[in-house]
Structures are given as structure tokens and as C-alpha cells.
């Protein structure tokens, strides 16, 4: 019995370690007036940091831009990765193995590594600092992961269904959008959420590649708002902004956990 207690104790301890920074940020975000060291719990919780953050014009622009970029990027991702996943799962073609290995390589190489050449290429193409550029760039973060997701999902579709469709005369394209897409609804949601999350919380590219206020993304806007006091730090903005960034995580934990782990079998962090 004691051994079991020790085991539970270790799990609880790790759980506390896991939650500590997030709890601390949340605690600070709800305090009415931040003074350091902060209270251990927000005894008089207040939303003032949230409301004043949302009153910042730049933050609102950043939120809207980030929603726009993330939604478009996620939609695009779902479209192109279901197509590729379908091909890998159900079609035969020359060079499949080679392309698959290339895909694995692309998946394993951390996207942040390429920032210098991408910065330069975007400058050559004249899309440095544009939102379209970011939509395409963000495909890099999630495309391999989503291809694996859909490939695995399409692999589980029963052959009988596909064969009866073939007997009905459905071609490659019809099978894709009449059978596989409708059957993959839960995976579509998961793929969308993944892609959305990656773009939503991306930080290195967003703060390096976009400068204009009108095109700024949320993470960069947040950084600007936090340090807008010239020589001081706005801890209220920092804490409440971090909570905004964490929102999609909550959504995933509530709705997408099952699929998340499916994708996780193949790995992937940003």
C-alpha cells in the first residue's frame, strides 16, 4: 500500500511541477493590483488586466490578424494534407517510398532552423511582412504532422466501402471527396485544431517577419504591449496575454485529446 502511495505522490508532484508556471501566470493575471511578491492565490479575482489588454488597439488588431491567419492556414492545411494523406494511404505511385522519407525528414527538421533562408527568400519574393506569406509559412509547422494524421486515419477506412464505391463507378477524385472526406470528420476537426494551434501560438517567426501594426500577429502584438512602457514591463499584460495564448490548449484538451495522441504517436513539437 505504501508503495502505491509513493507512486501516486510522484505523479502528483510531477503534476504540480507541470501546472506551476501556468498557475503562476494565471494567479498574476487575476490580481487586481500586481505587487511583488504576488499573493499565492487571487483572493479578489479581477479581470482588469484582461479588459485593459483588450482595450489596446494593437492587441485587437493582433487578435484579428492571428485569427484570420490561423483560420486560413488551418483550412489550407486541412485541404492540402487530406489530399496528400489520401495519396499516401490509398494511391500507388512511383517514388512513394522516397517521398515518404522526404516527408519524414521535413517533419523531423525543426522549422525554426530555416529562418535565415526563409527571411531572405521572402524578401526576394516581396512577401516579407505580409499575412499571405505567414499563411504559407505556417504550413511548414504542421503539414507533415497532418499528413501522417490523415494517412493513418484513411488507412483505417474499410476496404469494403471503397470497393463498393469503385463498383458504382466512382473515380479517384469522387472517392476522395465523397467517401474519405465525409468519413474523416473527426480527424478533420483534429487536423484543423492542430494547425490552428501551431499558427496561433507561433512566436519566433511572428516577431521576426512582421513589423507593421496593421499586419501584426498576436504574439508579436503582445510582446509590444508588454514592453510599451519603454523601460518597464507590464506584468498584467504578460500574464493575461499568456492566458489568451493558452486558450486553444484548453479547447484541445476538452475536445481533441484522442486525436492529439494519434498524431503524437508520430511525434512533433515546435
Amino acid at each position: 500500500m505504501t508503495e502505491k502511495r509513493v507512486r501516486i505522490f510522484i505523479l502528483v508532484a510531477w503534476g504540480m511541477f507541470t501546472l506551476l508556471p501556468i498557475y503562476w501566470v494565471m494567479d498574476i493575471s487575476f490580481q487586481k493590483e500586481i505587487s511583488f511578491p504576488p499573493q499565492l492565490a487571487p483572493l479578489n479575482p479581477s479581470l482588469t488586466h484582461y479588459t485593459s489588454l483588450l482595450n489596446e488597439r494593437l492587441i485587437v488588431t493582433g487578435l484579428l490578424n492571428s485569427i484570420l491567419v490561423s483560420v486560413v492556414a488551418a483550412l489550407l492545411s486541412v485541404i492540402i494534407t487530406t489530399m496528400a494523406g489520401y495519396a499516401f494511404s490509398r494511391l500507388q505511385f512511383k517514388g512513394k517510398k522516397l517521398l515518404f522519407v522526404g516527408l519524414l525528414m521535413a517533419f523531423l527538421l525543426p522549422p525554426n532552423l530555416n529562418i535565415v533562408p526563409i527571411f531572405s527568400l521572402f524578401s526576394e519574393l516581396g512577401i516579407l511582412g505580409s499575412r499571405y506569406g505567414m499563411v504559407f509559412l505556417y504550413q511548414l509547422l504542421v503539414t507533415p504532422l497532418n499528413i501522417f494524421l490523415f494517412m493513418n486515419y484513411f488507412n483505417t477506412v474499410e476496404d469494403a466501402i471503397v470497393e463498393s464505391a469503385i463498383l458504382d463507378g466512382a473515380g479517384v477524385f469522387q472517392r476522395y471527396y465523397r467517401i474519405f472526406i465525409p468519413l474523416a470528420k473527426p480527424a478533420l476537426v483534429a487536423g484543423f485544431i492542430f494547425a490552428f494551434r501551431f499558427s496561433w501560438s507561433e512566436y519566433v517567426y511572428a516577431t521576426t517577419m512582421v513589423t507593421e501594426n496593421s499586419k501584426i500577429l498576436f504574439t508579436a502584438a503582445l510582446e509590444r504591449a508588454i514592453f510599451s512602457g519603454q523601460y518597464t514591463v507590464n506584468f498584467g499584460y504578460m500574464a493575461s496575454g499568456a492566458m489568451f495564448l493558452a486558450l486553444p490548449v484548453v479547447v484541445i484538451l476538452l475536445f481533441g485529446q484522442k486525436y492529439l495522441e494519434l498524431g503524437l504517436q508520430l511525434g512533433g513539437v515546435d
Binding site: 507541470t18 501566470v25 511578491p37 494511391l91 521535413a106 530555416n114 504550413q139 479517384v172 493558452a246
Partner: protein, 292 residues
């Protein structure tokens, strides 16, 4: 299979693979181009003179490069070992726990993996801050002087290692946990009937089964740990005294705070090469998995 023209699959593959090709493989090629020329912010929009391998000579004669390689080694070894040990340990505890307990902890343990780098770095900077964090509240309540973790070379390294363990371990937990679940329960039973001791079971039966997973996992987290710099960038910016300036961050800062793009491109090339070697090993293991 129903007949279709040979090019049809490529239509399906094209959009996704074209984007990947552009941002990964084409970008490497472009990166080599930058690395072999002399590109700084000053001539960024003008002609780029070809200088051959001069940038690599600069990289290796720069005294800071050695420091960053040492930092990367420290950051990676401590981070990877801790992630493996803690992750496997926690995975085992989850595996042994009752279903109810496992379902309770699992989502909590995933959180860091899902969280933005920005949240992680803000969170840990606040938690470890001299005046802002709980760690120093404990330290000063014990009567010691508060410590500025981010401000001292050794403790700053400790801070980013902790933050990296926090963020990276969930992956190992989940991967190792699912690896353990894949051990056939009948095998466990059989070994009990055979009278094998727990120790023999773990070393002779469980470990060989888990071995490929451990290798795969090690390679993956190595790739991610040696190349992770977003977290460090926002936590310490590489300081103090370059104590947390890891190799890829060295490149990033050279490019975007000093304007030395070619120098950075050289570092990117070396990082990519290092990573490709690791990936090569990974693919070999992965291949074994696929074929068997």
C-alpha cells in the same frame, strides 16, 4: 484497384509537398547560397560577393562559437537525460496506475507540450524571478538571499534546462507510455507463470521490447533539444555572458541583432547537417519498425 492515370496521385500530393519542398529543401539550397557569400544587413539589398568558405572560418575562429557549442552540449545532455529518465519513470507510473488515475493525470501531463513557447518562457521567468516568483519566496522565507536565476551564468543555464524539461518531457511520457501498453499482457502473465523474477522480466523481456522505442525517442528529443532556441530567446536572450547562447541561437542573434546573415546561414548549415545525421539514424530504426 480501379485504374487511374499515373499522374493523378501527384496532383493530390502536389500542393502539400510543394510547400514543404519550398520551405525545407529549397530553403536549404538558398541557405547554402547565402553561406557561401558575404551577406550582411548592409548589403542585403545589393550584390552579394562570393567568398567561398570564409564564413565557416569566421564561425570556427569566433571565440563565442566554442562557448555556444559547449552550452548546447550542456543544455542537450542534461535536458535529454532528464527527459528520458523522468519521462520513462512517469510513463511507467502512469502505466501501472489505475485507469481512473491515469485518465486524470494524462491531460495534465500533456499541457506543456501544447503550450506556446511564449507562455512557457513567461511562466518560468516569472516563477524563477528574483522578485516575482514563488521559488525566491521560499528561498527568502528560509532566510537566504533571493537569487536572480536568469542573471547568473550557472543558474540561467539551470533555468532554461528546467523550462526545457518542463516542455519536452510530455512527449517522452506519452511515447513511452504507449510503448509500454504495446507489451502483450499475455507475455507478462507467461513470465509470471514461468517464475521469472521482476528483475528478469524487466531486463530480459520488457527492455528488449522497449529498446527501439527508447532509441527512437532519444533521437527525436535530441533533434528537438539541440535545435530549440525560441524558449531560450525569450527567457534569457542568450545571456548573461553568453551562458545560455546555444548554437542555433548564436545564428539567430548574429542575423537578427547584428545583421550578419551569412554567418547565421553557415550556422544553419551546420545545424542542419548535424540534424540530418541524427535523422539518418532515426530513419534506419524507423525502417526496421516499418519492415518487421
Amino acid at each position: 484497384m480501379h485504374k487511374y492515370r499515373a499522374f493523378v496521385p501527384y496532383i493530390f500530393l502536389f500542393p502539400a509537398l510543394a510547400i514543404l519542398f519550398f520551405f525545407q529543401f529549397f530553403a536549404w539550397g538558398w541557405n547554402i547560397n547565402i553561406a557561401l557569400r558575404d551577406v550582411t544587413i548592409m548589403n542585403f539589398r545589393r550584390a552579394w560577393p562570393f567568398v567561398g568558405l570564409e564564413n565557416f572560418r569566421d564561425i570556427f575562429t569566433d571565440p563565442v562559437t566554442l562557448i555556444t557549442l559547449r552550452n548546447t552540449a550542456i543544455f542537450a545532455t542534461t535536458g535529454i537525460l532528464s527527459q528520458l529518465l523522468i519521462g520513462t519513470g512517469i510513463a511507467y507510473l502512469l502505466f501501472r496506475a489505475e485507469r481512473k488515475v491515469e485518465n486524470f493525470f494524462r491531460p495534465i501531463f500533456i499541457i506543456p507540450w501544447l503550450t506556446s513557447v511564449l507562455v512557457a518562457s513567461f511562466g518560468w521567468r516569472l516563477v524563477l524571478g528574483r522578485d516575482t516568483g514563488i521559488v525566491n519566496m521560499v528561498i527568502s522565507s528560509l532566510g537566504f538571499e533571493p537569487i536572480s536565476f536568469i542573471g547568473r551564468p550557472v543558474t540561467a543555464m539551470l533555468a532554461i534546462v528546467i523550462a526545457n524539461i518542463w516542455r519536452g518531457t510530455p512527449f517522452t511520457i506519452l511515447l513511452m507510455n504507449s510503448a509500454m501498453t504495446s507489451i502483450n499482457p499475455q507475455l507478462v502473465e507467461a513470465s509470471k507463470i514461468d517464475g521469472a523474477s521482476q528483475w528478469t522480466f524487466y531486463t530480459k523481456i520488457a527492455l528488449p521490447i522497449l529498446k527501439p522505442f527508447i532509441l527512437m525517442n532519444t533521437i527525436l528529443i535530441t533533434v528537438w533539444t539541440i535545435n530549440a532556441y525560441g524558449l531560450i530567446l525569450n527567457m534569457t536572450g542568450g545571456g548573461p555572458l553568453n551562458a545560455t547562447r546555444v548554437f542555433p541561437l548564436h545564428g539567430y542573434l548574429a542575423a537578427f541583432s547584428e545583421g550578419r546573415f551569412s554567418f547565421a546561414a553557415g550556422i544553419t548549415m551546420l545545424s542542419v547537417a548535424m540534424t540530418l545525421v541524427l535523422i539518418f539514424f532515426y530513419l534506419r530504426f524507423y525502417d526496421v519498425e516499418l519492415v518487421d
